[in-house]
Point group: C2
Chain length 239, copies 2
Amino acid sequence: MAIAQDPRQNYLLAALPTEDLERVRKNLKLVELPLGEALYESGSRQRAVYFPTTAIVSLLHTLADGSSVEIAVVGNEGVIGVSLFMGGETTPSRAVVQSAGHAYRWPGKFLKEEFTLGGPMQHLLLRYTQALLTQMAQTAVCNRHHSLDQQLCRWLLLSLDRLVGNELVMTQELIANMLGVRREGVTEAAGNLQSAGLIRYSRGRIKVLDRAGLEARTCECYSVVKREFDRLLPAVART
Amino acid sequence: MAIAQDPRQNYLLAALPTEDLERVRKNLKLVELPLGEALYESGSRQRAVYFPTTAIVSLLHTLADGSSVEIAVVGNEGVIGVSLFMGGETTPSRAVVQSAGHAYRWPGKFLKEEFTLGGPMQHLLLRYTQALLTQMAQTAVCNRHHSLDQQLCRWLLLSLDRLVGNELVMTQELIANMLGVRREGVTEAAGNLQSAGLIRYSRGRIKVLDRAGLEARTCECYSVVKREFDRLLPAVART
DNA sequence: CGGACTGTGTGCGGTATCGTACACACATTT
DNA sequence: AAATGTGTGTACGATACCGCACACAGTCCG
């Protein structure tokens, strides 16, 4: 399982000109992100950003009563910890590993140095942040207007885009937390998708059988977000 | 009604050191924003940013079927058009004037010049953008978990914070569009607030009678957003 | 003064999701 | 093989909101 790791597995890092990447990579450290680990908690001071390669991380907004919603998902197309370069240092969100894997950790000190140079890295980070804005906005709309079935499709597709393979390890309970709905609701929605032959489900493993079917069933929110990511972060050599 | 206008009525501009403001203000132009005007449409190229002084602008995300939701509201604490300095040039959102008033228009060319200097203006714009991120995230959570009554309270308070006086000109129909619910739903929620003696309603005018009462009735989302704005954009001389 | 329009109130059945409770299936440990 | 725990399926009434239809009341205008 020891796959060779390279910073270029992350699209943002891969999009850097070689000389910039060489300068940056000296301070990158490969770390393993186990399922459920919190990269930062609400309000806590962040000390580094993370560029995922194989891990997927959810940004969650939690309420006082404990209920929560995922507001965005970050994989190897992005970076976790935008508040470090935006200047706020903290956010009211949490970042939780949704799918175990690896990421490159970059201490805030180096990030800020590089950011103030105003070069390609600054440019990429800001464009990524705008893509994140879009994802969050679309999530807000989706929460309001679309059925649980559709939202589940969207969520599966967003996760799938950030994974290798077509299987995700994820209980219905966890999905319910992400979507901010009851676990039973997810059971029903997932049952619908399974009856339709789009996925197969078994104790915390979801295998996607018909990706096109999911795309047909989901709301426009998925494609809006995807299109905006492609527009803002284009044409890096996506291996 | 011709009140003297000064860029410093906008908090971001007011927070600039004098020399920076002097440089910037040369290219600012005071414009009037009538109710309902769109500062930019979804996907259209933005040519300038706007610093409101007395106007309030809603950022709306619209779906293919025409239904929409407000994802953030911008008044004299902020700026409209963050995608210009974030690098994307466009966004899938629309910006619509929710309450008529004035704003300072700053052409994108000058904005970008100033931004690349990396000085106080860059710093302020980025911190404001982070505050915007928080507002959007909290909106997403609120859409999911809170009752229409609570959301209406939140919305009234957010608007109130950006206005002088305690009266807002706004039909229930428009509020419904902002919140992404039916007009009748707003009628009912507003009726509840009126029975409770918190507001008085009449044909497009809402007078807030008991602000503390609204704060007691709203969800935590209002205070989370407000606190984050105060933290990120502190200590400018708020007249 | 009458008409048209806009904004608001109200009532109805329909439905998606909630909250709660509980049964069952699979997996891992003893 | 039994025991325990975790993940999933199912059923129930409750409820918040929807979609629709329509009545009515201010306001503007000829």
